[in-house]
């Protein structure tokens, strides 16, 4: 057996899950979808994190009833062999989406705003080996790195927002929830694709997290922290940029210190911030790749997770190479559809696994 799970505590699990949730929530947000019709993201995103938490808690409660060792075991007892396979494929796809989406955003920002005259491919091959290495090393390495990086990430968010504080203006929040209740509900639902996969990853890696109770605790802490951080960051962004400007900005959080007329060391730290956030993003992507690999290994009865980790890393590399090149209409249409409706592919298997009664195998266990 070489599943590279090790054993991690609640703190490590919460830091890792929270890092992934915040990265997906803040950096993988499609600005055109989120802001074009008005801005309610500062309410919709934290709400989405809480909705995802309730979905995850329902899943954990169901797992407790079925007494399963991990998510795949539970899917099998609830949905049967083929149902579990189909649900796992959907969940793996969601994990890969969460691994790729923030990386694509970072690659674009690094290419356009940070490195002068450096190609996408160079930047990609600069950061990608670390993602593969971390995914290959497994859960313990990921969680220990997360504990260290998470604190630095929170400090960098706080510093960036504090430095931008003189530029905050309340009128930019108006019209409050101006996109209407329909779009607000749609955005809240759609963003569960950013928050639910990291929580489901906790269920996949439950053995390494010392069982369902620890995983449940980690999910609870991670969701609350993520909702607070994402909400605060989005509120700050909304008070700095009106929704019309936000809808056309790539990674506005990186730019919030570009506006200040005053000069201070805190203002000019944006390159440092993005390095920290990139580190967290790499960790988050590695966690998602590892979780997809772990689920795959469990699906097909493999006793070694590393071949799957290598394969999923290659898939991620392919997605990143194709996406950052862009330019193809069908790619942007696919992406548009995924951003808006991808959540259905994640929520359906999780809901099915939570609501359906465990089968005979489960009851025996």
């Amino acid at each position: 057996m070489r599943m590279n799970e090790g054993r991690i505590g609640v703190t490590g699990a919460a830091a890792l899950t929270s890092a992934a949730m915040i990265t997906n929530g803040l950096f993988a947000l499609d600005p055109e979808f989120a802001y074009a019709e008005g801005n309610s993201a500062y309410i919709a995103l934290p709400l989405s994190a809480i909705v995802s938490l309730f979905a995850a808690l329902a899943l954990f409660a169901s797992m407790k009833r079925s007494n399963s060792a991990d998510l795949y075991g539970h899917l099998e007892t609830s949905l049967g062999r083929y149902g579990a396979l189909a649900a796992s494929i959907c969940i793996m796809a969601a994990f890969m989406y969460c691994a790729a989406e923030p990386m694509i955003a970072f690659l674009r920002v690094l290419h356009r705003l940070v490195y002068d005259g450096v190609s996408y491919a160079s930047i990609l091959f600069f950061v990608f080996p670390m993602v593969v290495y971390a995914a290959w090393k497994g859960l313990e390495t990921l969680s220990r790195s997360a504990i260290v990086l998470f604190a630095v990430m929170l400090a960098s968010f706080a510093a960036a927002i504090l430095a931008a504080a003189p530029d905050l203006e309340a009128y930019r929040l108006y019209p409050i929830m101006g996109d209407g209740s329909g779009h607000f509900a749609f955005l809240t639902a759609a963003q569960t694709l950013a928050f639910l996969p990291p929580l489901a990853a906790a269920a996949v890696n439950m053995k390494g997290m010392n069982g369902v109770r620890s995983a449940q605790k980690a999910a609870l802490y991670a969701s609350v922290v993520s909702a607070a951080v994402v909400g605060a960051a989005e509120l700050a962004l909304s008070a700095i940029y009106p929704y019309k400007v936000l809808s056309g900005l790539l990674m506005p959080l990186y730019r919030i210190n570009f506006l200040s007329l005053s000069q201070s060391y805190l203002i000019r730290l944006d390159k440092l911030y993005i390095t920290v956030w990139l580190g967290v993003c790499m960790l988050s992507s590695a966690y998602m790749v590892f979780s997809a690999s772990h689920l795959f290994a469990r699906c097909f009865g493999q006793k070694d997770v590393t071949p799957a980790a290598a394969s999923f890393s290659l898939i991620l590399l392919g997605i990143l190479l194709i996406s950052v090149k862009g330019g193809r209409a069908f790619l942007s249409e696919t992406h548009r559809a995924l951003v808006r409706f991808g959540w259905i592919g994640m929520i359906v298997p999780v809901a099915a696994a939570s609501l359906l009664r465990p089968g005979k195998a489960g009851r025996k266990a």
Partner: protein, 401 residues
């Protein structure tokens, strides 16, 4: 063996990660501090780039200041690529602090073209200040650096300080211009400057001294001495992307008071119609109420509270006279001046007082706000300015008693 291999692999990865992508040494960049844009003769624009000059030894001509590069081009990219062929470094715009555009171009709306195409591509930070120059922008940029200052980037901070102390300058970054044009709830105003060749700079005084002449001889002749050849004389007001009017320094102060962006300043008053006195004003608070849904005219009420501290200047005025004037007349005068500035802005089609930022608060849906068309209804706006001025000196002295 495996541990050694893993450690070596991790170390190699760490080293790769610590490296640079396409490393460029610092002296391979020329840091552009100011971009000045004028109308070109053969091509559309004439660009002047001011770069910080390195400090260099005893020679007063190389104490600092700026190196200028200039070139014509239909776009900034064309000018940059032509200039980069002739200099031993690449131009880097990430430290650009000033964008200066000639009034002629600003009136034609050339800012939109420049801002939308160049900012992200050239990595110019939107915190760069916009200054509209009455005549040539390149000439104005030259005037800004006529003193050979060691750190020319401090000029941006100096402008902000001027606004803080006098309230007579409009200091707004390009980010605000982008914001107002995207959100449609206000109009931009920028600093408006002129180049004055008559001013004798510090560098010229030093030169006179080094040539054995009396450096203060110009003071004796009554010439304007010291400072920079370029100075800010007011504010340029915009309607959308186009510059549509100019405010004097005094009018800019009243605009800043109405906007709530005023901190300190002073006004000259004539309490008995003849003798002059100076009153220092400090901002206390401001509130705005507006009803964008009213039928016909759009009513708005701006309530402003200022603190006044009188400084007697002329012995012909008594303290009581001045107190009386502040309590009864100054409020009326200030509100009247603010109203005049509002009318001037409205005539220029500009919501420089940004009533739109208050009107938008009355809307519950973004679409409704967009369909409302704030700018088209600007002519219907009828604001009332209520100014309250508290004589703080009198208040404190009464309190002491």
């Amino acid at each position: 063996m495996k541990r050694v291999f893993v450690s070596l692999f991790a170390a190699a990865l760490a080293l790769i990660f610590c490296g640079c992508l396409k490393p460029v040494s610092l002296d391979a960049y020329g840091y552009v501090i100011t971009v000045a844009i004028d109308k070109g003769k053969e091509k559309e624009y004439y660009f002047t780039f001011a770069l910080q000059r390195e400090l260099g030894g005893e020679n007063i001509d190389s104490e600092g200041g700026a190196t200028a590069l200039a070139c014509e081009g239909d776009t900034i990219f064309e000018a940059v690529s032509e200039l980069e062929g002739n200099v031993p470094y690449s131009l880097n715009f990430s430290r650009a602090h000033f964008i200066i555009m000639s009034r002629e171009l600003a009136r034609e709306g050339a800012l939109c073209d420049f801002v939308m195409t160049s900012f992200d591509s050239l990595k110019i930070r939107p915190s760069a200040l916009l200054v509209i120059s009455e005549k040539g922008a390149g000439e104005f940029a030259g005037g800004l650096y006529s003193n050979n200052d060691a750190n020319i980037t401090k000029l941006q901070t100096a402008l902000a300080l001027d606004k803080e102390k006098t309230g007579m300058v409009s200091v707004n970054s390009i980010s605000r211009l982008i914001e107002y044009n995207a959100a449609g709830c206000g109009d931009f105003c920028s600093a408006y400057g002129v180049y004055d060749d008559e001013i004798i700079t510090d560098a010229e005084q030093k030169k006179s001294e080094s040539e054995g002449e009396n450096p203060l001889k110009d003071v004796e002749t009554g010439d304007r001495v010291g400072g920079l050849k370029s100075r800010i004389v007011g504010a340029a007001i915009f309607s959308g992307w186009k510059m549509t009017g100019v405010l004097s320094r005094e009018e800019t102060m009243y605009l800043n008071i109405a906007l709530g962006e005023f901190e300190n300043g002073n006004v000259t008053v004539y309490p008995n119609g003849e003798n002059e006195a100076t009153v220092l004003l400090a901002f206390v608070k401001r509130s705005v109420s507006i009803d964008p849904f009213a039928k016909g005219a759009i009513p708005a009420k701006v309530t402003i509270e200022l603190a006044a501290s009188p400084h007697l200047k002329d012995p012909g005025i008594t303290e009581e006279e001045l107190d009386d004037y502040i309590s009864n007349e100054l409020e009326r005068v200030v509100s009247q001046r603010i109203e005049e500035v509002f009318l001037k802005c409205r005539e220029a089609g500009s919501d420089a007082m940004r009533f739109g930022t208050h009107a938008v608060k009355r809307f519950s849906a973004a679409r409704a706000w967009e369909e409302y068309g704030w700018k088209e209804r600007l002519d219907l706006l009828e604001p009332v300015f209520e100014v309250t001025i508290v004589n703080t000196d009198k208040y404190y002295s009464e309190d002491m008693q």
